[in-house]
């Protein structure tokens, strides 16, 4: 009567439709429920096995959890095994039933049979939550000293889970694994190394780094035995001895070598050996090589070794047919590029070739890498490649690509001629994707340049749009806008070009464009272009007027207005007004970016280049103190963003600018990081204090913005949170700055704070406990956020109580601070 698992599988596979399958499962679930309810002993493990199968198919199996637990407690090993198997699948760490399991796990850990112990350890490795990890952690750790390698291995795996859930347990495990290097069994070694590597990366395992570094020679020896002949025949995978262990040791070396010169030197020999001795033609080889390269990059390795690593990556790109390998190679190169750009430059051609790959993700990676590779030296070589790629890039990549080309061109353009040429080329090839800012940039550059340049660019753009409005042209809105603007402004220069353009041609082309495009923006530009052309060539007024009349009835209000206005101007009796109002625009000063061109700057005296900065400085200095007191927010949008761009746009001028702006923080009370936009990572907000109250400069770079303020009759409280040590993301230094806003002298200030259960806190001593009017008092609090063991999972929530004596009376207030980023 009870279906066997095999039969159930067959029945489910026989179903033709999903509905049919659901019906079969529903029926079987009902049967299993009935069996559970009736408490039949005979088919318990069979039913649980079926339940596991049903779970794997994605159906709800909550009702079976109790039965799993019952089975777990059974004395028969077969039933126990089925119970444990189902438990680790059906239950996860968030289920409440886990509390019921814990006791049984404890019992089984001390069971006399080894297999039962391993079952329990496996279950812990799969499902342990935070509480269970805390409760069973120490017992699991004792197994690390057992004689059985099987138990040791499983204990390491369970330990890994425990350490991940409760990082504070890391010390216990690391302590017991110090002599791991003498272990012979590879299984234990691999599991143990995983645990050690994970533990050492945690803040709690930091102190063990030194101990493990002492043993580094023995790990290197193990690795050497695997790499150098005679190879151990055991654990051989495609001619490579135990690649898993090799990878694990390389990972451990990476952790130990990071940031330590001596350790890095010790391991550089073996890394070179691994890099040279490993063959990359089997699938296993590249895995080890990749891991080795990552280690070389991460540690403080010598330039030679690093060159070797980049060469290996280059070899991945050229010789490998596997997409995955090329992808990781590109990915890793992107990371190396800022450390060792010269070595990467050597593989430039290979990387550019990757743009032709079939796989879109590789093309994307290659593009990203090329962007980072571009510098003022090689821009003339690389950008044409990118533009060339633009012709056959897929449409969904084009938008991103054009934007990137525009920004790189802006950053490194060697000359204005080149920059204008590039932008025009991009507009022609991918007019539909050109960002508005790039079009504006092009227009402003043309307006600023010399007359010859203006004529040249206008002629170039005119050649594109005079071909007649076909659909491809109409879709390139960026090109149209730029071209229409230039033709309108510099239409008269076209007549000087070869071959000369007649004014009538301009009118016919633009008019046909005007009528065929759908975009109101382009139409607006075209109308203006026509009006301007008629001002340049007064004899074609009569040709323009009819078009304007058509648009006087346009549904678009903007176009209608333009048409009316222009027509009024064209028909006006006073030619001077007509001329003057449609005259050439004054040079556009692009307010967003000031680009300097490397090649041009070579001829320019540094003294003349600096005025850009010099003029900018007074803005910052005057904006600083004045804005701070009234509206700190405003300050960020005004002068500062201008400054930001000035310095962000050109790396060369940063150095000259730094001393000039250095006094600003002192005067205004904000950090210099802000000006350069990125030193501290986050913008610093200034406490909105009253002018008389001195401002407070936090001791460490801040994380996030200043949090919550409280204000009452006596105090204004501002909470800062900062991270004193970037390696310890859990530790947050919270500074409560109390500003006395009253006129009385406040004494006996005491600040009490409480945090949620997951965090611990430590109060720092105060400098004083009285505050004069308009003075500050700073109370520092260290908060160690241990929520769920992973940093930043939850913002810290804090309750603060303030007790003080003001004017002879004891006062107190209480407030909550939430959302302190950790």
């Amino acid at each position: 009567m009870s279906l066997r698992l095999k039969d159930l599988v067959r029945e489910v596979r026989g179903c033709k439709t999903a509905a049919e399958e659901r019906a079969v499962i529903a029926k079987e679930c009902a049967a299993i429920r009935t069996a559970f309810k009736e408490g039949k002993e005979a088919y318990r493990s069979r039913n649980v096995n079926k339940l596991v199968y049903i779970y794997l198919l994605g159906h709800a199996t909550e009702f079976g959890q109790m039965e799993c637990i019952r089975l777990m407690t059974s004395e028969s090993f077969a039933e126990k095994k089925a119970g444990y198997l189902a438990l680790s699948l059906l239950v996860d760490e968030n289920h409440e039933v886990l509390t019921l399991v814990e006791n049984q796990l404890k019992l089984d850990l001390s069971h006399r049979i080894e297999h039962v112990k391993t079952l329990a350890l496996c279950a812990i490795a799969n499902i342990a939550g935070e509480d269970m990890a805390r409760d069973l952690g120490h017992e699991v750790a004792t197994f690390l000293e057992s004689n059985s390698s099987n138990l040791k291995k499983k204990a390491c795996l369970a330990g890994l889970r425990i350490v991940r859930r409760v990082p504070s347990m890391a010390e216990t495990f690391l302590d017991k694994l110090t002599n791991l290097s003498s272990e012979k069994n590879h299984g234990v070694l691999v599991a143990g190394l995983t645990l050690v590597t994970e533990g050492l990366q945690m803040e709690e395992g930091e102190s063990f780094k030194a101990i493990y570094t002492k043993n580094i020679k023995s790990y290197i020896k193990i690795l050497k035995n695997l790499v150098m002949p005679p190879y151990p025949s055991e654990y051989d995978v495609q001619g490579i001895a135990d690649p898993f262990l090799q990878v694990k040791i390389l990972q451990l070396l990476r952790v130990l070598g990071t940031g330590s010169k001596d350790t890095s030197d010790t391991m550089s020999d073996i890394l070179a050996q691994v890099a040279t001795n490993t063959e990359s033609y089997t699938p296993v080889g590249p895995a080890i090589l990749y891991e080795c390269v990552r280690t070389i990059i991460a540690i403080e390795s010598s330039p030679d070794l690093r060159g070797l690593a980049v060469t290996i990556l280059g070899r991945f790109l050229t010789s490998s047919s596997s997409n995955n390998i090329r992808y990781v190679a590109l990915n890793t190169l992107t990371r190396v590029v800022d450390k060792d750009s010269v070595a990467v430059q050597r593989h430039k051609n290979t990387i550019v070739d990757c743009l032709k790959d079939f796989d879109i993700s590789i093309r994307k990676r290659a593009l990203d890498l090329i962007y980072t590779l571009v510098s003022s030296q090689n821009i003339r070589l690389l950008v044409p490649d990118l533009i060339n790629y633009l012709t056959f890039a897929s449409p969904n990549l084009k938008g991103d690509l054009t934007e990137k080309i525009c920004t790189t061109a802006e950053r490194y353009a060697p000359s204005m001629q080149w920059h204008v040429d590039t932008l025009i080329k991009v507009c022609i090839l991918a007019g539909a994707y050109v960002p508005e800012t790039a079009v504006n940039k092009l227009i402003s550059m043309v307006s600023k340049s010399t007359k010859e340049m203006q004529g040249y660019s206008t002629a170039k753009l005119w050649a594109e749009i005079s071909k007649g409005p076909d659909t491809t042209l109409l879709s390139k809105e960026g090109l149209l806008l730029a071209a229409l603007w230039c033709v309108g402004e510099f239409g008269d220069l076209l007549t000087a070009q070869k071959p000369p353009v007649v004014a009538e041609d301009i009118v016919t082309s633009v008019t046909s464009l005007l009528h065929s495009t759908n975009s109101p923006v382009v139409k607006g530009y075209a109308l203006t272009c026509l009006a301007k052309t008629s001002a340049r060539f007064p004899d074609i007024k009569l040709l323009v007027a009819p078009t304007m009349e058509v648009f006087q009835e346009s549904l678009d209000l903007e176009l209608q207005q333009r048409a009316w206005e222009y027509l009024q101007l064209i028909n006006s009796d006073d030619p001077t007004i007509f001329k003057a109002s449609l005259d050439r625009m004054p040079t556009i000063e692009s307010e967003s970016v000031v680009t300097s061109y490397a090649e041009e700057q070579q001829h320019v005296d540094p003294g003349t280049a600096s005025p850009v900065v010099a003029t900018a400085n007074p803005v910052a200095v005057t904006a600083g103190p004045a804005a701070v007191s009234t509206a700190p927010q405003k300050k960020d949008d005004g002068g500062m963003s201008f400054l930001d761009d000035v310095f962000g746009g050109d790396g060369a001028s940063t150095a000259t600018a730094a001393p000039a702006t250095a006094p600003v923080p002192a005067a205004g009370g904000f950090s210099i990081d802000d000006i350069f936009g990125g030193g501290g990572g986050a913008p610093v907000a200034v406490p909105p204090s009253q002018p008389a109250v001195p401002t407070f400069t936090p001791p460490h770079p801040l994380v996030g913005k200043v949090d919550v303020t409280m204000e009452n009759r006596y105090f204004k409280v501002v909470i800062y949170s900062s991270r004193p040590n970037p390696i310890h993301p859990h530790k947050v230094l919270v500074s409560a700055v109390l500003a006395n806003v009253s006129t009385t002298h406040i004494t006996g200030v005491e600040l009490l704070a409480a945090v949620t259960r997951t965090a611990t806190l430590q109060m720092h001593p105060k400098e004083q406990d009285s505050v004069a009017p308009n003075a500050l008092l700073v109370q520092n609090i260290s908060v160690h956020n241990d929520a769920n063991g992973n940093a930043g999972a939850k913002p810290i929530c804090m309750k603060i109580r303030l007790v003080f004596v003001a004017g002879g009376a004891k006062e107190s207030c209480e407030f909550t601070v939430s959302g302190i980023p950790s």
Partner: protein
Amino acid sequence: MPIGCLLILNSRGDILCSRNYRDYYNVKSVGEVFRTQVIATKLADRSPVHNLGGVSYLFMKSENTWVVVATKLNSNAVLIFQFLSKLIEICRVYFGAMNEESVKENHVTLLELLDEILDYGYPQTTEIDLLKMCITNATMKLESGAAKQGQKQLSDKLTGIIGWRKDGIKYRKNEVFIDVVEEVNVLIAQNGNVLQRDVSGKVIMKSFLSGMPECKFGLNDKLMLQSESKSSDRRSSQIDLEDVTFHQCVRLGKFEANRAISFVPPDGEFQLMKYRTSENVNPPFRLLHPSCKSLGKTRMEFDFKVKGEFSSRLNGTTVVIKVPCPKNTASTKITVGAGKAKYEPEHQAIVWKIRKFPGGSEVMFSAVVQLISSTSEPKAWSRPPISMSFQVPMLTTSGLHVRFLKVHEPKLNYQAVKWVRYISKAGQYECRI
């Protein structure tokens, strides 16, 4: 309302058959857009009309095929849907079913049909009888004389007033069958209050009459009786019909003028009229004192009685009552007064079947459901309503009955034999617990 193009796709979206009526459609791309934008995105479940890229897609589903009309113009959507449903009906009559296999098998006939019923995107005729005259499945023997005569007859029909009936039909025995089928939709609250009740009915006629008979049909419709102005004595059984729609053979002018239903019937079976009414609906079945108690976490009790509230001379047949159970039901213990009841896990319900249910009788149901305690209870059981399905022959829930049917054939002057049948069925018949 020009139809731009018409496609028949299979459930995956592959084109089985297509016809383009205007030049500017590319059938392949229309099919592709429909497949990727409507079928693949499951937008089809949301609405039967989609406008994508300036093209409107109107579609109906028939078994495993999609019948899609694409148009760029502002066409009359209702007309297109009426056409689509007619098309599907025609295909059913011709091929027995409208699904992927039948479309593939009868591809040529289908194309012929489409040629006949649509011209340049405008529907011409969707009358099956007429189509049967020009498109036959059987091989046709072409005799020059007969063919010519047939052609003449055909063109007469297509352009004539009575397109749905051909001349010269002869039966030895002239008979008419009338079926009045009513579907009852009822929702009863826990306390026995009827929250919603209405009846949607249809009158189906099967005529085997010779010549060109003129029929007049009378119901106990309130307005109809008033217009006949002799109704004072039978006021009690007047009923109010709403939303009446007729077959195209009914002369609507006459109906508007004096509420008389007169028509020349097509040969064979057709649906004469459809109506809806929500007044004076007496639900034929009632659940008495339904109760559903949770006894602790692992036991539930259901208790109720079903009463047939119709004349004891009538019998309800194939009564099926579905009592929903929670998801974690382990076992059930059911006692019923009549019929058989069983827990069916695939429906998550106890299904109680009673073959014959005499009018006026009461049958009890009680069940104890054992639940298995779930370790994580995500949400409480939603208590879906008890649903019912049944058939009661010779009962009209709305009280409608056929008063007369007069058949008059001016040339042959025969007496037709008339048969009337009534049946009430359950539509959505639900009772909350």
